[in-house]
Symmetry: C2
Subunit: 331 residues, 2 copies
């Protein structure tokens, strides 16, 4: 049989297990030109929360009663497609099913001899590439500048900060526990770190950690931390709006200080970043990340959870910051 | 004697005549290397309100008890500087004085045979150049796109809209009276216009006037009109944050809907624009504007007020929208 996870209903606020439904289907048979895929590693990511809303966004929302999907590494277990061989591994946006068929469109083969398969969901996958391209396309950090990163212990933030160090920046991270702020300094080499959960005045804390102000802010959280970063931003500062996890579970339209006078006064650029806008740049980005990894310039952490049944809980745990680095479910 | 206008105190909210003080000084004598300038035309602009606050910004704030300054066309009435001759006209940031001396730094000569002198404060001056470079550097409107402009009957907005038409865009303007919305359609050739003072639901009105959504928003006003524009913005939209006149007189820190999720969902760029960041591009911009003027592709309006004593009131009147196009005081 073939277990499948559906979106049962659209979450209100924080997602809960009730929002998901497990069903069993017959294991599908690949037709001519198709392959049968067995799910091996499933990426769960905060942005999936956005797709659970019934709102226009950069990708279609999930439909209630239909399977969810995310980045998945799968094994080719049967092939009726000359481009794929049994035993190969592929990476792509796939459904939360133990088995599924595909015509191969949108799938990339991954080589488990070059890097561990899981790395293709993290440091060499969309999360690493997001950090790389967010900085390359919008942040453009220069040597001697200060890069501030929120969600700094997370899969994207930890890579963004390390790239900042490679580029010669002072790098300051914001995270939500003492363990995380130790980790981003000790393991990821950030120059300073702020625990926002034990800090009353974030604006002042950022000012102290960034004595020359903030030139580039890589924002994964939005909300009040963004406000505090903008209050410390330098002339010609750049804000990469990569994520806004602090707002994803809000049920009312969130408000805050208006940004336009700050943008005008300091010639600030704020730009929403979605890695899918830059598909043509994925290859070079992955190559650069792999080269840095080989030279031991990039570290990463994963939280690996076991079992297909654990996927919804692993996703929910992201909103409590229970992951260390990239959250991956091994099936 | 020589009349001078000082900042008497920092305005609270809307500026009033009490915030300004007239004094008389002795007419200065130019030293060796200096010229004596007689003020002819004075530009008053909304951005001066920002300099009246005691806040760090792109230029130093005005000091209480010191003369104010703005863009001024002056006549050289005496010259001890070999680069300037008596009878020439210059344009520059000069003080609100009937007479002042200068060593010539930062002054540009203007030719009253090529265009009326006043044009160098408006369409060929900082306001025209602001419209041109805001679109050229940030907005980048493409043929077939929709350009929305607020403050559309004003000195900057009316030029921005006309440039949008030259570039082949659908151009929609927002202004605050029936007369203004007639003018921007009839005189400036906008495709549609919205009177925000008689419109309850700006979001809906913009949706109706921009059936294909908004690709570029040239914002001179900020506040709720910016919110309504962002609610209609297309994927990859660009917002030029050029001005925020609706907020300049606010005494409390203004709040509004948070922007970060909108920016992320639609890959939106918002960027603060200050024309002084692009001084090296002024020459080519002025040349292009002059070429369009010569081909009758650009119209402009001026409101000309007479008398040195009228400068403060002319400035205050900007906040009531009493000007038609560029507000200029002729001395």
């Amino acid at each position: 049989m073939n277990k499948v996870i559906l979106l049962k209903k659209r979450p209100k606020g924080r997602p809960s297990l009730d929002d998901f439904e497990f069903i069993e289907q017959k294991k599908p048979n690949p037709k001519e030109g198709e392959i049968l895929l067995k799910t091996k590693y499933v990426s769960v990511d905060p942005y999936l929360r956005g797709r659970m809303r019934d709102e226009k966004s950069y990708i279609e929302p999930f439909e209630v009663g239909k399977p969810l999907e995310s980045g998945i590494i799968a094994e080719v277990v049967e092939s009726n497609n000359k481009n794929f061989e049994k035993g190969e591994f592929v990476n792509g946006m796939l459904q939360w099913k133990q088995f599924q068929t595909s015509n191969g469109n949108g799938l990339n083969k991954v080589d488990n001899e070059k890097a561990p398969l899981k790395a293709y969901l993290g440091i060499l996958g969309l999360t690493g590439i997001t950090a790389y391209l967010g900085l390359d396309k919008i942040g453009k950090p220069k040597k001697g500048e200060t890069l501030l990163v929120s969600g700094a212990a997370g899969a994207v933030g930890s890579v963004a900060g390390q790239i900042g160090k490679i580029k010669g920046c002072r790098v300051v991270g914001i995270a939500g526990s003492e363990e995380k702020i130790d980790r981003i300094q000790e393991k990821f080499g950030f120059d300073a770190a702020i625990n926002y959960k034990t800090t009353d005045d974030m604006q002042k804390a950022i000012a102290e950690a960034c004595p020359d102000g903030v030139d580039v802010y890589f924002d994964n959280v939005g909300g009040e931390i963004l406000d505090a970063a903008l209050a410390n931003i330098n002339k010609y500062g750049r804000v990469i709006n990569c994520g806004a996890i602090s707002l994803y579970n809000k049920t009312e339209k969130p408000t805050g200080p208006r940004v336009e006078t700050t943008l005008i006064k300091n010639s600030i650029l704020m730009q929403g970043f979605t890695v899918r806008d830059f598909v043509k740049d994925f290859g070079p980005a992955q190559k650069q990340l792999a080269a840095w990894m080989e030279k031991d310039k990039l570290s990463y952490l994963e939280t690996v959870v076991e079992g297909f049944e654990s996927i919804p809980q692993a996703f929910i745990d992201l909103f409590d910051g229970k992951n260390k680095g990239k959250m991956i479910v091994v099936v």
